[in-house]
Amino acid sequence: MAGSNTSGDAGINAFAQSVELALAQAYAQLSNSGKVATPDAVDAMSAFAAHHQEHAAALGTLAGSRATTTPNRRLATMLAARVRNAPDERAALEVALTLENEAASTYLFALGSLEAREALQLSASILPVESQHAVVLAVLLHKAPGETFPVFENQDQAFRPDQFPAPS
């Protein structure tokens, strides 16, 4: 039913919201770890964390009664371990790069199931931002173009709700 929010869409938006909250939490952990010190990297961490909070808020609005204030627990646990295991700034930026690519992949995954135009357009307005975060981080890491610019975005790295269930 185009143009309205379906119950399936609400669940998908709630899942995506829980993912965004987990990403914002991971950035907070990266910032607080003291491992990221280069000014450009610090600025990126701060800006991207704020973006993820904004994404979570917008997704929560569309999720309606299924909205959550809790980061996706299993994902948050996995990301916290990645942050903890990153020994230095380069590794910390790699953690951020990976999670941004995973986030972009997750929105592509969601677009395969969303039905309402409003929900489709919201996910489609977030996906490119996650992709652009990945580019900024890849540049900070001096990654080769082949690692940074796929011909097509794909779903291979998506966080999936069967692996990372949304909080109920």
Partner: protein
């Protein structure tokens, strides 16, 4: 042996290939099943009938037309010799190759839907960029023009969401839209401009489906 002609690679870029971009068929059902609601099954004909296929073909013609603009812009820029920084010239070459793949995909899928592929640069967009293209004097101007074009493309893909009769096209379209957004981010960095200034992308510069094609 019958001497049957070998299919060219571009012929393989069919509607099936379009649907395979991003793994639409397998993954969408998984998500719907996990979060509840929606449908986990595709209807026998998800294309919206003949009218839907025609409408989708118009969108795809628009997409191939804007990809053709990008190809022209990068080719002109590369041939002009204004890209003096090797890394920038390399990126331009990579991005042009992406746009060629994108254009071929949309042209092939248009054909599969029974439409006539649009292979020329979109005349309305060309009108917007022609003056800049004719007056390219230095690398900064070329990168700025490329950034404009990538932004138009990214906005155009985003604007198609919710407009396809065949909803499975959403994933394929944004798999390209995300790639264009990456191009734009890299070019804005080369220009010294904030690459991700806001939390949400807009569709302000999108080319409406059917315009110029």
């Amino acid at each position: 042996m019958t001497g049957r002609p070998v299919r060219k690679p571009v012929d393989a870029l069919t509607r099936r290939r379009f649907l395979q971009i991003g793994g639409t068929l397998s993954m969408g059902a998984v998500l719907a099943a996990c979060v509840g609601g929606g449908s986990t099954k595709r209807s026998p004909d998800s294309s919206g009938g003949a009218g839907g296929r025609r409408a989708d073909a118009t969108i795809l013609r628009t997409l191939s037309s804007v990809e053709a603009v990008a190809i022209v812009v990068y080719t002109t820029t590369l041939d002009s010799g204004v890209l003096t920084t090797p890394a920038v010239a390399d990126l331009a070459g990579v991005f042009r190759s992406h746009h060629r793949e994108h254009a071929a995909l949309f042209e092939g899928t248009t054909r599969d839907l029974g439409g006539a592929p649009f292979t020329d640069p979109n005349p309305m967009v060309m009108q917007q960029v022609q003056t800049s293209l004719d007056g390219l004097r230095d690398e900064a101007a070329a990168v700025s023009l490329a950034f404009d074009v990538e932004t138009i493309l990214a906005d155009t893909y985003q604007s198609t969401m919710g407009t396809f009769a065949d909803k499975s096209f959403n994933v394929a379209a944004m798999s390209v839209g995300g790639a264009e957004a990456r191009h734009a981010a890299a070019l804005s960095q080369a220009l010294g401009v904030q690459p991700v200034p806001q939390a949400f992308e807009t569709t302000e510069r999108a080319v409406p489906a059917g315009n110029g094609v």
